[in-house]
Structures are given as structure tokens and as C-alpha cells.
Symmetry: C2
Subunit: 387 residues, 2 copies
């Protein structure tokens, strides 16, 4: 041990490589960055030195100089919820395809933590942020000072100049309810109402429930709308128990998500109600978990891969926007000092033309809607679909 050799070096910088290769630091930098005007001989010489020393660029320094890290932050409410865990996996994969790495945080649905995250995470080292807000208010987002691109996912909608990615919740809920109606169910409960915030996602699904019932001429029995305290299995169980305790006897349940549905089914099973004979159940999220209960769960399946892909592409797109479209080479005229243009004019809307790029500031926010499908299951026990 104690070899003075490359093994021992704690940190290899461009300078070390340059010394070994007998060239200047910038030349090494040029090779690393694939700058075109480098002699093949020089390039090879440098490359060999790079390999010998196992040089890898220090991204912190590069970031300080260029303003990019190659890291995207992803902030989700909770990883314990399989939906978010699966979504996180999808985002990591999608980011990887663009050579981005994902910094992950969970907010526990706390407004404070969500706020913290929007203000530059813990570390101001990220190129962009994908956030699934639960409690955050529009004013919190409006007050955001960080300039990294932000894209929102999930059902909450804000009237703010940020890209937003969410499936059409009303249509999805209607599909679920329609499915139950098609099977002759009429007393369809909705599990997962939450009164506190009008823009809450549950509101949209409840709206879908009401809309579809109305469209089909079935009176909506509002006593069958059960509130929940949270979004986990226990909350579904509690809601279902409350419903039954109050004397209601629905013949179907549409749950805000699969976890609530699973909790509800558990209560029904305890009370001797058979699923689906006595009560048909439809959930939301298409968790793998739902496929392996005593009864497999029919569910609305948002396209998680699409959500992840769109979110990542939104960030990447925003990052590349300022670039001149035709600037194929590396010269990048006027490249640096991007600061000062990112701030949108603010209030006044004014996103008239939908031109591909209108280089002049004015970010045009996009509302993207990935698809969803209704996955109907009849106790089929298949292989776990790879995903």
C-alpha cells in the first residue's frame, strides 16, 4: 500500500491529466467535451492519460462554471405509497435516458416541506424540479424565487406558468363509475372525499362520480360519499366502516385510490360482505398489490411511464429551450449569462401564439394529459407484468 501511483490519488483533476499528457488543461477539457478542433494524435494522447488516471469530471466545478449539474430533483408526498414508489422508479428510468440523475425527496404532504423543496431543495444543485404537491398553495408557488425549471405532476391544478402533468381525472372517474353502472350497480359509494380544499384531486374524481351518475340518469346519493382522513389503507378501512356503521348498504364502491379500496375490502371481508358479489369495487392507480388480494382489484390505471416521461421531457425541454435551434456547433453565441430572462412577465397571461419557440422570455406553460386505462380483473393470477 501507500503507492504514490494513481491508486493513491484521492482526486484527479484536469490538471493532473494535463501534466501526464503534456498538454494544457484546456486541451484536456476540450477532449472531455468533445470539442471538434483537436488533433487525433492529441486526442488519443489525452484520452490515454484520462483512462490511466481514471479521471472523471468534477460536476460541482462544472456546475459552478456552466450552471448545469445533470441532476433533477423529484419530490413526492410519500414513498410508502406504492403508487409514488412506482412513479419514482419510472422517473428515474426516464431521466436516465436523458443522462440525468434523480435526487429524491418526500414531503410527507407537509406544506412546509413542499415549500422548502420549491425553494431549491436542500441543496441548490439541481437543474430542475418535478413536484407532486398536495398542500402547497398557489401563492407559495407564485412566490418562488428559484429559477430552475419546475414541473408539477398530480391532480392539483394551479393557474400558474408551470407545466402540469396529470391525467384527466374526471374522465377517469367517469370510466370507473360507468364500468360499475354497466354491471347493474346503482348504489355506488365514493370513498375518498375530502372537504378541506376545493382544488384537491379527490374533488375531481368525486365530480366524475357525480357527472357520470347524472349522465346515466342515476340519482347521486350523497350519503354514499365517504370522507377520509388520509390516503392509505387504514383510511379506506375507516371510511368503509363508517359507511356501514351508518347503515348504508352500497352495492359498489369507487375508491379514490387502490390503497383505500384495499382497506375497504378488508373491512367488508371482516363483516361478511363478499367482493364482488355483494359489493363491486373499483380502485385507482393500478398497484401491483391490488392484483394479489383475495380478490383482485379492478382499477383505473394511469400511465405512469407516460407521466414520468412527460415530466422529464418537460424539464429537459425547458433547459434546452434557450439554445439557438440551429446552433449545431459548440460555439454557442452569447451562451453565458442567461440570468435575467427566465422570469416570466408575471401575471398578464399573454401567451397568445403557440409558436414552437418564441425565444423572447415568455414561457408558455403546458398542460399535458397522459392516458389511463381501466384494468378489469376477474381473479386472474397472472405473472407480475414486468412493467
Amino acid at each position: 500500500m501507500q503507492t504514490e501511483d494513481e491508486e493513491r490519488r484521492v482526486r484527479v483533476s484536469l490538471k493532473d491529466v494535463a501534466e501526464l499528457a503534456g498538454v494544457s488543461v484546456k486541451t484536456v477539457s476540450n477532449v472531455v467535451n468533445k470539442y471538434q478542433h483537436v488533433t487525433p494524435a492529441t486526442r488519443e494522447k489525452v484520452q490515454r492519460a484520462i483512462d490511466d488516471l481514471d479521471y472523471r469530471p468534477n460536476l460541482t466545478a462544472r456546475h459552478l462554471r456552466k450552471g448545469r449539474t445533470g441532476i433533477i430533483a423529484l419530490a413526492l408526498p410519500e414513498l410508502g405509497n406504492p403508487y409514488f414508489a412506482e412513479l419514482a422508479g419510472a422517473v428515474i428510468d426516464a431521466a436516465g435516458e436523458h443522462d440525468y440523475t434523480v435526487l429524491l425527496d418526500h414531503t410527507q404532504g407537509s406544506r412546509e416541506r413542499e415549500l422548502l423543496v420549491t425553494q431549491g431543495f436542500r441543496a441548490r444543485v439541481i437543474d430542475g424540479l418535478i413536484l407532486n404537491p398536495l398542500e402547497l398553495e398557489a401563492e407559495d408557488l407564485a412566490a418562488r424565487t428559484d429559477t430552475a425549471p419546475l414541473v408539477l405532476i398530480g391532480e392539483r391544478r394551479y393557474d400558474l406558468p408551470y407545466d402540469h402533468i396529470a391525467i384527466d381525472n374526471i374522465a377517469a372517474a367517469r370510466t370507473a363509475v360507468s364500468h360499475l353502472l354497466d354491471r347493474g350497480r346503482r348504489r355506488i359509494a365514493f370513498l375518498g372525499a375530502r372537504g378541506d380544499r376545493a382544488s384537491q384531486p379527490a374533488h375531481l374524481r368525486l365530480l366524475g362520480w357525480r357527472t357520470e351518475l347524472a349522465a346515466r340518469g342515476v340519482p347521486a346519493d350523497e350519503t354514499l360519499v365517504a370522507p377520509v382522513e388520509g390516503w392509505d389503507r387504514a383510511d379506506g378501512a375507516a371510511a368503509m366502516a363508517a359507511l356501514l356503521d351508518a347503515g348504508h348498504r352500497p352495492d359498489a364502491v369507487f375508491a379514490y385510490n387502490d390503497l383505500i379500496a384495499i382497506g375497504a375490502m378488508r373491512v367488508m371481508s371482516e363483516r361478511g360482505l363478499r367482493v364482488p358479489e355483494d359489493v363491486a369495487v373499483v380502485g385507482f392507480d393500478d398497484l401491483t398489490e391490488g392484483r394479489y388480494g383475495a380478490v383482485t382489484l379492478t382499477t383505473v390505471a394511469p400511465d405512469k411511464q407516460a407521466i414520468a416521461r412527460l415530466a422529464v421531457e418537460s424539464i429537459v425541454g425547458r433547459l434546452e429551450e434557450p439554445k439557438t435551434p440551429g446552433g449545431a456547433d459548440g460555439s454557442d453565441p452569447g451562451g453565458r449569462a442567461r440570468h435575467g430572462d427566465a422570469g416570466p412577465a408575471g401575471d398578464g397571461a399573454g401567451n397568445g401564439e403557440g409558436g414552437a419557440e418564441n425565444g423572447e422570455g415568455a414561457v408558455v406553460p403546458r398542460q399535458l394529459q397522459p392516458g389511463f386505462t381501466l384494468v378489469e380483473r376477474e381473479s386472474t393470477l397472472g405473472r407480475s407484468p414486468a412493467h
Copy 2:
């Protein structure tokens, strides 16, 4: 709008603050870093300027200067497995307590990706790495050149100078089997054998199964050891189906993990076997999911919080090691860093004296064993324990 004022400035640096306050850059830095020798008057003056400009330190520059990023990478096999998702959440929380942020990647159990991760992730921006390897070989790890601290978690053991954190799998498995024996079961199947790699974690649990049976004088029927292809529900279902198809009739099942147990229970329920009357089941991991099936699942619960905490503390400890212990520069007199107390000596080898630091290179690897408990459930439907 268009105010030239603080609003408009996209980036405020120490220099700007220094100019406004009429002091030097370093003085501002001193105030920001709470350096003690600053006159109250100066401090206040600077603080006012900081507030006026809404200055926030550029962490990238700070990291470049200090050589730390505050980011720990966490590489897990798969986020789709709730165990890993819950573990990831615990790691994020534990890291947060030390002001670290977590960069997350999943390796899909691919040796190639695991290798990639050990070699400095995609980005050289991490202070340390927590890795749960599945396929990685000892030689891969031995060839590692990256110098960031690495800690291994999970059941695979390597004889290498890295901290390793895993519960005592043999003891845990014995506890599970003992529990079943106590209830009069004698034909206890083991679901989750995998022949391919001797050091595979499943081997340890299988060993525990054999050991406990032997200790209790119950002959081990090796035909009740069912192999699996993977670690998910479908694999458990397939294994159980194969077992039953072969004509075996176990009166109990000890599954390698909860997912396999859930898959197995699903098959049993399809075939009219009652749990636990006909077949008692014990799983491993204590997934929330296991609490809400038709039958709640008794399971071995590794202390995920402890695993996460120990892993993070290992990294943080290694990072702070080089520091001089007595350097009480005022703030925080050595208070933090509890590392190094929890672990029993593990095997024989090495760590003779408990000397705090032996600064001379020579890293002493630690084998840490968080605890576990057997969680026995009798169809209790409680609230989801917060976590």
C-alpha cells in the same frame, strides 16, 4: 415591474452583499457562517444587507470550495418492491437529520448497473454511497476506484473493507420457524430458495430454517424447500403452486419475504386452503401491504429505521473521521456523530482496540446488525402505524 431592484436580480452573491454593506466579502461570509469574531454592529449591518437582497448562498460554490456536496447516493434493487421503497423513505429521513440529501438509483438487480453505481454513479457529486447489492461480486467491489465512502446493506456478505449493515438473518429465520413450531406445525415449507449463488441472502434464511428444525428435533423435509425465480408476488405464487402440484401438503409456510408469502397465500386461497387454519404463514419484511390482505400476515420485521440510520451514520462518520477530534472551533463541540456504538463485533477479526480514531488510513470495517422483531397478527385491523 422591471424593477432594477432586488426582485429583478436573479443571482445575488456575497460580493453584492459586501458592496451594499460596505464591508469585505469575507466578512459577509463570516456572518453567514456564524464565525464568532464579528462585532454585533457589523453583524447587524451585514445581516440587513443580506435580508435586503434576499441573499442565499450558492451551495455549488460552497461545495466546490469545501469538497462536499451534502448528497448521499442510495442504490437499491427496485423501488417497486415496497420493502425497498419504505427503506428508501427511511434513508431519506435519516439523511435529512444530518443535512444530507439523497440521490436515488435502482439497479434492477443488474450486475452491470450495480457496477456502474459503485464506480461513482453517473455524476461525481456524491459524498458517499449506500448500496444494496444483489448480483455484484466481491472482485467488482475490490476493483472499485472511487474514493467516496461506501456502505453495504442487505444480506449479501463480502469479505471486504466496507461497512456492512444487515440483520442477523439466521436468527431471524429461526425465530420465524420457532414461532410455527410452537404452534404445533411440523411440515413447514420454505419458499424462496435460490441455488445460484452460495452467498445469496436466501441461503441464510434457509440455513435458519434448517438450524431451527434441527435444534427442535424436527426432521427437515427438503422437498418442502421451494425454489423461486425472483422475489415478487408472482414468484411466490408460482413456487407455492409448484409445491402443491407436486403433491406436497405443508401445514405451514415460511417465506423469504412478504411478497412471496402474499403470492403464496393467493394461490392457497384459490385452491381452497385456509390461512392460517390449514396452512400457517410467516413472511419477512413487515410490509404494510401484509396487514390488509384477507388474512393479515405474520412477519419478521427488520428494523428499517435502524438500518437506514446506521447506514447514514456510517457514511457521515467516515466523512467526519479525518477531522481533528479536538478542534472545537466554538460551534458544536463534537456533539454529533454517534457512529460506532450499535454494532456487535460481528465475526472475529480486526477491530481489537476500540480507539476512537487511528487516523493512519487503515479503515476498520464494521459489521452492524440492526434488530428485528416477529410481528404476529391475528386479523387485527388497526390503524396504519405511522411508520
